[in-house]
Amino acid sequence: APSTAPETKGAKTPITVAVVPVADVAPLYLGVEKGFFAEEGLDITIKNVQGAAAAVPLLLNGEMQFAYGALIPVISVAASGVPVTFVVGGIAKPPSAKADYSAIVTKQGSSIKDLKGLAGHSVAVNALRGGPHLSVILALKKAGVDPSTVNFVELPMSDGMAAVQRGDVDAAYLAEPFTSQAVAAGLPVISSPVYETAPDGATSGYFAVRPYLDQHASTADAFARAIAKSDEYANGHLDEVRAQIVKYSGMDAKTVENMRIPTFTSKLEASSITAMAGQMDKLGWLTARPDAAGMVR
């Protein structure tokens, strides 16, 4: 029964957090190092998983308590009836196009110069019906292009750049570290989709399952507080963030040096979820509309 209140010093509450080892979760590592979690009485273990959906079984069976995920996949999970709820936010909409960690890239010398040019062409996204897919669709709509004229191709992000260069696809959605790699290789960026389409507030967050939250409310609060503290610290110490990324991802320092670091935020609004869920529903991606209010704590 790890429901001990955080105030009880000495015996710390052990929790396990499932993450995907990308830049988004740097505050978590940083916070652990800075002792923000220990201060809240949490003994934290971080484990890598393939994605938000892969973490759900582990939350359900109690092996892990929190997981990091973007809004879209977690909304999908919620729509299928799993009672998942966000505890705290992750990263925010980037402040500028230049700071956007995402990019739609094309081949050098491609005739496609902007989103309008994508009509009738193919775009690689890492997961159909996932966040990138939605971002590209919304960006296209915003640019006045009918998304149904674009052929979306599912392709792992690590293969996106090569596929564009070879001409297998005309464009690809990339996120860091692949964005900076592509830019360094000279691929033209025709859009920064997250910056252009994301709602204000957090676009991702740490979530848990409701039965757990009902029983361990104080632990969840402590976790949220520690994340908030970490976010704040991280936003002000980008060098330390980069050092953390090098440590936990194994990327070399030079790559990380060039990466665009997202802005971290702990504030996650139900309205963002409502907006996203609405878009997904419109596209026919959801079997049921999840209760947005219930998805945020």
Binding site: V22, S158, A162
Partner: protein
């Protein structure tokens, strides 16, 4: 009769086969491997930007980085341990179930449709269920490994049972040889070549399942490292890990190949006749 009396009967001393031949095998194999590597390096360097597969020298550099990392060795140990454990379980289960399936007609008829329905379920698809039931524990890995490694042994065993010489079975029946003894003395040796192939498939299956379960399920091991390298765009490191996995598979495969060569000295491939 003078011809025969001449003492100069030249006996062509044929050296004992095993050791120099296997030395030759290593030698020939090594040459072939080097040839492939050189070809790859050349193609990679001449092919230019399009191909995203790193050349052997780049992978070699990443490999050098790996082997000095103690975490890598721990991961290797974890991967191998679970693969070996799962393989043993799967092999036993596969031989037992395959023998029963090939032997009992009612059992075969009752279960064949169900088995055919279940068999094609990709192990990857079962992962969420495995994660839910067992978490990222060793059990989850083992469940997936056993499931993957079981089928080849099972199928091969079941097929092998059709290849038992009827005369041997008659001989055993005549002498009222007990079933257990028949199993050990006749059935298993007869289907040995089938099981051997099944095992060689399973050993790699077990290794791959171990890695895939780490890759997707997040259990610690080489697969975890592989997934990390892949999702963070460290291509050379990823291929270095692939090379490591390939070498592990090669070693496992070779050790089985060796077993095969040692045990059935009776197999036609090892007999003297017909090898001239």
């Amino acid at each position: 009769m003078s011809g025969r009396a001449t003492a100069s009967v030249r006996i062509r001393a044929r050296a004992p086969r095993t050791s120099p031949a296997s030395a030759r095998a290593v030698w020939v194999g090594a040459v072939a491997v080097v040839a492939v590597l050189v070809l790859w390096e050349l193609l990679g360097r001449l092919g230019g930007g399009g191909a995203r597969i790193p050349v052997p020298t780049a992978i070699g550099a990443a490999l050098a980085g790996l082997v000095i990392d103690p975490g890598f060795w721990a991961a290797t140990g974890q991967t191998l341990l679970s693969a070996a454990l799962g393989l043993v379980l799967a092999a036993l289960a596969g031989v037992v179930a395959g023998t029963a399936y090939g032997t009992f007609v009612f059992l075969r008829h009752s279960t064949s449709a169900l088995i055919e329905l279940l068999r094609p379920i990709p192990p990857v698809a079962l992962l969420p269920v495995g994660l839910l039931l067992f978490g990222t524990s060793l059990q989850m890995k083992l469940a997936l490994i056993v499931y993957t490694a079981f089928w080849p042994v099972f199928i091969q065993t079941a097929y092998g049972l059709r290849d038992i010489d009827g005369t041997l079975v008659d001989m055993a029946r005549i002498h009222r040889v007990r079933r257990g003894r028949r199993l050990l003395g006749i059935v298993l040796p007869s289907i040995g070549p089938y099981i051997a192939v099944g095992l060689r498939l399973s050993v790699i299956g077990a290794l791959i399942a171990s890695i895939v379960s780490e890759l997707i399920g997040g259990a610690p091991g080489l697969g975890y490292a592989l997934g990390l390298a892949q999702s963070t765009g460290q291509t050379a490191r990823m291929y270095a890990l692939v090379v490591v996995i390939g070498v592990l598979g090669l070693l496992a495969d070779r050790s089985f190949g060796l077993m095969e060569r040692i045990s059935p000295g009776w197999s036609p491939a090892n007999r003297e006749r017909g090898r001239s």
